[in-house]
């Protein structure tokens, strides 16, 4: 069995990726009440776009750029304009169902047009282990953790320090007032979709080398990100980050020390307990109940 430190770092690394995915998820919810059941597939797809670019002869760095660009166009702008916009006025549930159908569509398209087999994916971070406090820890885990933290910190800095970030927050917290004081609310909402698409593309680059590129890998990821978002607080970016890290660590430690068979159950039980005792999540604000 690996040592506790390694488990902890690996847990934080996966947790940080969950956090990236969960942050996008909460952004969409805050600005446009969109529950995206295809969020896991949104992480799976960019890896295949990059693989396709590499098969066409592009070097890895170019493939990454192409992947992120296509992700922004398809999963950001396309998703917003073609699916969310026409459905938003119909309420949360039909839109959620439509994203479920979208998840099926993306999964099947990858299976049909690329491959049903798992493909290896090049890693940005070298393999091997280094000693931390005299214990071996995988370099990949540390690298993923650091990159994910940099992205998340960059995003929070953008949201809290820049004028556009403030406008985005205003648009999500109170669209009516934001509109009155001159915030282009529609553009801000579109921007959250673009940011979500970029985040899932980055998550895709970080996680696919660990778990291989497979058409069905979105299911587990999407579910982990949902749980992370709810555990941490559905309406808070920092909640999603905390939730992601927590789920990653709990999942990894649970698998090692409690039971591999019921590994998936541990985050679920955490989820049920938190929803029942603190429905707004660990760091979330309570939303007013609209009855």
């Amino acid at each position: 069995m690996s040592n506790l430190l390694d488990l902890l770092v690996a847990g934080l690394a996966t947790g940080a990726i969950y956090a990236l995915v969960a942050v996008g998820f909460t952004l969409l919810w805050q600005t446009s009440q969109t529950i995206n059941f295809a969020q896991g597939e949104f992480v799976m797809l960019p890896a295949f776009l990059m693989l396709a670019a590499m098969n066409a002869g592009a070097p890895f760095w170019l493939a990454i750029l192409i992947g992120i660009a296509l992700s922004v166009i398809l999963l950001g702008l396309g998703f917003k304009l073609l699916l969310v916009d026409p459905m938003l006025r119909h309420g949360v549930l039909p839109l959620a169902i439509a994203t479920m159908a979208l998840a099926i569509g993306i999964k099947e398209a990858v299976k049909q047009f690329y491959s049903a087999e798992a493909s290896p994916f090049p890693s940005l971070i070298p393999g091997g282990e280094i000693a931390v406090f005299g214990r071996p820890v995988a370099v990949q885990s540390i690298g993923v953790l650091i990159l994910a933290i940099v992205v998340v910190l960059g995003l929070t800095a953008f949201l809290n320090r820049t004028s556009i970030g403030h406008q985005m927050q205003a648009a999500s917290q109170n669209p009516t007032v934001a509109r009155i004081i001159g915030v282009p609310v529609e553009r801000m909402i579109l921007l959250t979709f673009v940011i979500n698409a970029a985040l899932v593309a980055i998550a895709s680059i970080l996680i696919t080398p660990i778990y291989l590129a497979k058409f069905s890998s979105g299911e587990v990821l999407g579910q982990a990100a949902f749980i992370a978002a709810i555990v941490g607080g559905f309406n808070q970016v920092r909640g999603a980050i905390a939730g992601g890290l927590l789920i990653g660590v709990v999942d990894n430690l649970g698998a090692a020390y409690v039971s591999t068979q019921y590994r998936a159950a541990i985050p679920m039980i955490l989820l049920i307990v938190i929803i029942l005792f603190r429905p707004q999540g660990l760091l979330g604000r309570a939303e007013e109940r609209t009855v």
């Binding site: 549930l93 569509g105 099947e108 709810i230």
Partner: protein, 338 residues
């Protein structure tokens, strides 16, 4: 409604029922299997339609209840209870319904505290937990190897081992469940469910015990999931955990919404789309699930209240137009009158 409209309705209903009984007689094994599956999934979707469409409680656990029903039927009709031996399917049905009712009741408690997407995620968690139990509790469920050799029942002395007789078992069960649900939604219970969906606060102020009805909506809906599962096990004659994962719950939710949630016939159409449409699209080979996904999205964009929502809208428009025509002619008469 006029008398002719009622007659037309009865006529269409009778024709559909006759077709469901007569046409499959020439179907092959596979066709009968798919049609039986449609009947079973319709029962499960009707249960979810009660919980979601009538009582307004989002549940992502209906697939788990189908699983509980299926495993109850499989275990009780093959191994049975220690000391007593295998039970007939009817006995297993009673156990499955009771079990799902109780578990559904308990699952309703979170609904008293949280709503909407939170509720969806609690039930999603339950769904995943149920799947893990099916997969990991080898002593009871035989784990990933599954349970095979599930017998089909004898009904009034007739063996239903062949596909056609068992299809009639499924169809007959669907008919019985439909009658029960039809009665239920027209009873004060059903009206209380709708009141709960439309405005929980007002329902409370009207003296409806919202706590009890919320729990009841979950319990009855779940019990119908159990009925579907009890039929599913002998239909496939082999069960393993895979079909009862989260995707079944999502599929059932999609059936209810696509058919038209809160419409009595919604689940029938929704299950038809979900079970039969992929079969019809099979000629497109690998593309069929993709086309299915696109069709569902297009339908929801066009009509978020499902297929029956379109019909409802057309009928409403016609009624409005007829009413305004009547008003116009009445007005004209009034004006020409001295």
């Amino acid at each position: 409604m006029t008398r002719t409209a009622t007659l037309i309705r009865i006529g269409i209903g009778a024709a559909v029922i006759a077709a469901l009984i007569l046409v499959p007689m020439n179907f092959n094994r596979y066709g009968l299997f798919i049609l039986s599956q449609w009947a079973v999934m319709t029962i499960a979707a009707m249960g979810l339609n009660l919980t979601l469409g009538y009582a307004g409680q989002v549940s992502l656990a209906q697939g788990a209840f189908v699983g509980i029903g299926a495993y109850s039927a499989a275990i009780l009709t093959t191994q049975g209870i220690p000391g007593i031996g295998p039970l007939p399917l009817l006995g297993a049905l009673v156990v499955a319904v009771a079990l799902c009712f109780v578990v559904g009741w308990i699952l309703g408690y979170p609904a008293l505290r949280v709503q909407h997407h939170y509720l969806a995620f609690v039930t999603l968690a339950f769904s995943t937990l149920a799947f893990l139990v099916f997969r990991n509790e080898d002593w009871l469920t035989k784990g990933i190897y599954g349970i095979s050799g599930i017998p089909r029942p004898h009904i009034l002395g007739f063996a239903t081992g062949k596909p056609l007789p068992f299809y009639y078992v499924c169809l007959g069960s669907l008919a019985l469940v439909s009658l029960a649900v039809w009665w239920l939604i027209r009873s004060p219970w059903g009206r209380a469910f709708v009141a709960l969906r439309e405005n929980p606060l007002r329902a409370l102020s009207l003296g409806i015990d919202t706590r009890r009805y919320t729990l009841m909506a979950f319990a009855i809906g779940s019990a119908l999931g159990g009925v579907a599962g009890t039929l599913y096990a002998p239909l496939t004659q082999y069960i393993d955990p895979v079909p009862f994962g989260l995707s079944l719950s999502l599929d059932l939710l999609m059936m209810v919404i696509v058919g038209g949630s809160g419409f009595f016939f919604g689940p029938f159409l929704g299950a038809m789309i979900a079970v039969l449409l992929p079969e019809w699209l099979r000629f497109t080979q690998g593309y069929y699930l993709m086309l299915y996904a696109v069709a569902v999205i297009a339908l929801l964009i066009y009509s978020p209240s499902g297929i029956l929502g379109i019909l409802d809208r057309i009928l409403n428009e016609r009624r409005t137009r007829a009413a305004s025509a009547k008003r116009a002619s009445a007005k004209a008469q009034l004006e020409t009158a001295p």
